[in-house]
């Protein structure tokens, strides 16, 4: 509208400005309008078109009198009539030219057109906004209805649970739940509810131990807020998602339940996934199937879902029971609620296993876990197993869990990766004793009892000349040792690598290019030196900057600076009572400190400069009678003053370097723990054992995140070494079966 008044002002300008050209004076108009407003008549200040017309007519009339073009005059006269008044009034205001007026009119018209198109645009914009808001509203509505549904579901579950509680407490059904009593068990399942379904076959077994066990289980579940109703609800939800339910069945049950006028939960029919379905289905299934199967299936039915969540029994273990594996699947998919309960899983799960599950489940577990040998027997063994098999996820269920973020036990690190075997490195003729990654490249070196080391480039998945199926072929074979190669170290630049062998030598190697032709000519310079000094097998070797430290069966630990005139810097020898050293590492958060594990099952931290013992890591009561507590491997935490040791007695122990005390001790494997590796950030620990498996541990809460069965046994040995890549997502294991495996 501002433009409009401006335009009007332009007209008013003319009478004042006299003969001036029309439209030029627009800028001045604001002042002049007012002065003229009184004289110019009402029409002038009004934006309406009629008023304008009148005004123009008036002007034209005035001009006509002054003697304008005849043709124009005639047409304008008709308009001039109504505006006669003003015309007369302004008779004295002269100098309107016809072209000027036309120009003005044109100008005005285009202005209005512009205006109109702007309005159109505005309108379109507003309409779009309305549409958007409508959409949003719809969204919120559906969200709301979803939430309402959930609330109803939870309400229902709570009611069920209360009923159950009541029943357990007083032995009778609560009055308001009478309608849940089945009229008969054989009436096709309609009307049977979840409670009876699981109890009928159960009571037919009429075994008091079962009853007790079941109640105890219930208590545990109730303690952790985990009721089988919830599980059933969830199971059903997922089942319906998976299309395992048929609707007619569903409705029928819903109606049957609702008929008693119980709760909206059931009465509302289709939308609510009532637990009844589960009971109904399983009941039917049970009646159809064989006796022994039905017993197992039903009794385990409700527990199964819980069990699955506790992940004690993977799908493979349960595969003989499709009902249960169904549940497993469901739980794996249905992750929303699971997270909350994860934290309490290990403990209660263990209790469940050891106390509640009867022999058959235990047996199932035992049979299916190939790791378990005869020597693990009785409930004691099972107790440990229970602890050990937390998150045994070598199978699909865990994968799903992990991907969905359900693997809540992994802690707050948000690190949900599941490692899968990708490369198998076959080329060694005998056990692979050690392996080490290049610090940057996807390259690794393996050392074997076949006296060689081999270089592998994971990016060079050579299509083998003689075989198409090999993933990776070694690029280079390092030969110098005259006996098994036992340990490896690599310089931080990744240019040099060191190997210690049973022959007592430490060999130094310049790594060939990772793109070398495997059948290139022999370059004697690759083998760039031998550090001689140990008189017996070199078992441990680790690097820090330019120095390496090695430990040997000759009882000494030696610090070397390779490629110098006098490479041997210092020798550290412990008291006779400690026995020989078995493993060594630099203390990563403290310069000039090394930690050495001795046969006495103690670790000693030395100052490399003074050669003095700084502290001894020991815990008298824990380590008393140290037979069998032998340390197979010691590693230093990369950032914290913590030393981690792998023991022959299946434990991994954590030590505080400053106080020398035991911080944490855990049974980590079924057989001696042989190897350890900590990732570069110090968040995860990888352990390998003669039980053929490697395990990944969250260092934060010391829980096992993943277990992978990786290697086979040769004699009584299986896994010799594990490693993290410092910068790339690779882990690797080396085994007595002559293979190395890389997981991504």
């Amino acid at each position: 509208m501002g433009t409009n008044s401006g335009a009007t002002a332009g007209i008013n300008n003319k009478p004042v400005g006299g003969a001036a050209v029309l439209g030029v004076g627009v800028a001045n108009s604001a002042i002049l309008t007012n002065s003229l407003g009184s004289g110019g008549g009402g029409g002038l200040s009004i934006s309406g078109l009629s008023g304008q017309n009148a005004n123009v007519g008036g002007l034209v009339g005035g001009m006509g009198g002054a003697g304008g073009g005849a043709g124009n005059n005639g047409s304008d006269d008709s308009m001039g009539g109504p505006g006669g008044g003003p015309n007369n009034q302004q008779a004295t205001t002269p100098q309107y030219t016809i072209p000027g007026i036309l120009h003005f009119i044109q100008h005005e018209w285009s202005r209005f057109e512009l205006e109109r198109s702007q309005w159109d645009v505005d309108r379109a914009e507003l309409q779009a906004r309305i549409a958007m808001l409508l959409g949003e509203r719809k969204c919120l509505e559906s969200l709301k209805s979803d939430l309402t549904r959930r609330i109803k579901m939870l309400e229902y579950a709570l009611r069920q649970e209360r009923a159950k509680f009541y029943r357990l407490k007083y032995g009778t059904d609560p009055p308001q739940l009478n309608e849940f009593k089945p009229s008969s068990n054989d009436d096709g399942g309609i009307g049977t509810d979840v409670a009876t379904d699981s109890e009928v076959p159960y009571s037919s077994v009429s075994n008091t131990t079962w009853r007790q066990g079941r109640q105890m289980l219930r208590q545990y579940l109730a303690e952790i807020g985990y009721t089988d109703n919830i599980i059933d609800v969830r199971s059903n939800r997922v089942r319906s998602i998976l299309g395992l339910n048929n609707n007619a069945d569903h409705d029928g049950v819903g109606g049957g339940g609702g008929g008693g006028g119980n709760a909206g939960g059931i009465g509302s029919g289709g939308e609510n996934l009532s637990p009844n379905i589960n009971g109904n289905e399983s009941n039917k299934r049970a009646s159809e199937s064989e006796v022994q199967q039905s017993n197992d299936a039903i009794i385990l039915d409700t527990e199964a879902a819980v069990m699955a969540n506790f992940e004690f029994l993977g799908p493979t273990e349960m595969s003989d029971d499709d009902e249960i594996s169904d549940d497993l699947e469901m739980v794996a998919t249905d992750n929303e609620d699971t997270d909350v309960k994860m934290a309490k899983r290990p403990k209660s799960g263990k209790d469940m296993l050891t106390e509640d599950l009867e022999a058959e489940v235990g047996e199932q577990l035992l049979n299916d876990m190939n790791l378990i040998t005869e020597e693990v027997d009785g409930s004691l063994g099972l107790g440990e197993l229970a602890q050990l098999t937390v998150n045994n996820e070598s199978d699909g269920a865990y994968d799903a869990n992990a991907k969905d973020g359900t693997g809540g036990s992994a802690g707050g690190a948000g690190y949900r990766k599941t490692w899968n075997a990708k490369y198998t490195l076959r080329s060694h003729f005998d056990g692979v004793r050690s392996l080490i990654f290049h610090p940057e490249e996807p390259v690794l070196i393996t050392a074997s009892e076949d006296n060689t080391l081999k270089l592998w480039n994971l990016q060079k998945t050579v299509q083998a000349k003689k075989s198409a199926s090999l993933d990776v072929e070694p690029l280079y074979t390092f030969r110098a040792h005259t006996g098994p190669v036992l340990c490896l170290g690599m310089s931080s630049s990744g240019e040099t690598c060191y190997s210690g062998g049973l022959d007592g030598n430490i060999e130094c190697w310049q790594l060939p290019s990772p793109n070398i032709d495997p059948y290139d000519c022999y370059d004697p310079n690759v083998h760039s030196g031998t550090l001689e000094g140990h008189t017996d097998a070199v078992w441990g070797l680790t690097t820090m900057q330019n120095n390496i430290v090695s430990c040997s069966a000759d009882g000494t630990v030696k610090l070397w600076s390779p490629y110098t005139k006098e490479p041997l810097l210092r020798t550290y020898t412990a008291a006779e009572a400690e026995g020989g050293p078995s493993s060594v590492d630099f203390v990563r958060n403290e310069v000039d400190h090394i930690v050495v594990a001795y046969n006495s099952a103690h670790c000693i931290i030395y100052d490399t400069e003074t050669g003095k013992q700084v502290i001894k890591l020991e815990a008298s009561q824990e380590m008393s009678g140290n037979t069998g507590k032998f340390i197979n491997k010691v590693v230093s935490h990369p950032t914290l003053p913590i030393t981690i040791t792998a023991h022959e007695d299946r434990h991994i122990r954590f030590w505080d370097n400053t106080s020398g005390t035991l911080v944490h001790s855990m049974v980590a494997h079924l057989e001696p723990v042989t190897s350890l590796a900590v990732d570069a950030h110090g968040l995860y620990l990888l352990s390998g054992s003669h039980d053929c498996s490697i395990r990944l541990w969250n260092l934060d809460n010391k829980t096992c995140v993943q277990e992978i069965t990786a290697h086979r046994k040769k004699f009584d040995e299986s896994i010799f070494d594990v490693a993290f890549h410092a910068t790339k997502p690779y882990i690797a294991s080396a085994g007595a079966d002559g293979l190395a495996k890389v997981f991504v």
Partner: protein, 223 residues
């Protein structure tokens, strides 16, 4: 070697084991080995017990699959040949031995390349051992160590033929190394025995005389 509770013997080389104690544990009867690597374990056990008793080492246990037996022995040969290669590396250089020769009559072409070529002897040795390692560990030909396809068993002959040339080169051109190595391992002796027994190489190819002081072994002869 530690006796665990009960009478279980744990056959393990724990870190810190002295080299003289390495693998020093009581023999385990083959029938008690439940590992997939039982044959390798058995063979190594026999070698460890007495490397000179070639005949016994090569005596196949009853009910043993012959393909696996041959395969595992060949693996063991190739593995032990690494020891000979290490010794040769110190003496046999591309300048001294420009070709893989054995006596003046034999020049061997290296089969590791797309077109066989006249590699220097040390390269030939390394390439042959590397190639054998790849073939014998090939997932395609030898996916299992408990049963071996008949078609793969036939591959063993050519591996034998090639690795044998390492013996012959060492014997004719690096005699001292050969003798030292042989005195320790009896490897050529055993190998000759092996290929003869299982007919993996023709006799005229067995050019290293090994039965000088051993009359009992028929078959090995200077061809």
């Amino acid at each position: 070697m530690k006796m665990a509770d009960g009478s279980t013997i744990l056959r393990r080389n724990r870190p810190g084991t002295k080299s003289k104690d390495f693998c020093r544990w009581p023999d385990e009867p083959l029938e008690e080995m439940d590992s997939t690597l039982a044959v390798q374990q058995y063979i190594q056990q026999m070698i460890k017990r007495d490397p000179s008793n070639v005949e016994l080492i090569l005596t196949m246990p009853e009910a043993q699959d012959e393909g696996v037996w041959k395969y595992e022995h060949l693996r063991q040969f190739c593995m032990e040949l690494n020891g000979l290669a290490v010794r040769l590396q110190k003496q046999c250089s591309p300048s001294t031995c420009t070709q893989m020769t054995a006596t003046d009559q034999w020049i061997f072409l290296c089969a590791a390349h797309k077109t066989p070529k006249e590699c220097p002897a040390i390269d030939y040795t390394r390439h042959t051992l590397d190639g054998a390692a790849c073939l014998l560990n090939s997932n395609k030909y030898f996916p299992s160590r408990v049963s071996i396809k008949e078609s793969s068993v036939t591959k063993l002959g050519s591996v034998c033929r090639r690795v044998y040339r390492i013996f012959s080169h060492a014997y004719f051109h690096h005699r001292r190394i050969f003798d030292e190595f042989e005195a320790e391992t009896y490897l050529c002796h055993r190998f000759t025995h092996f290929v003869t027994k299982y007919n993996l190489m023709s006799k005229e190819n067995l050019i290293v005389p090994i039965n000088e002081e051993e009359n009992a072994a028929p078959g090995e002869s200077e061809a």
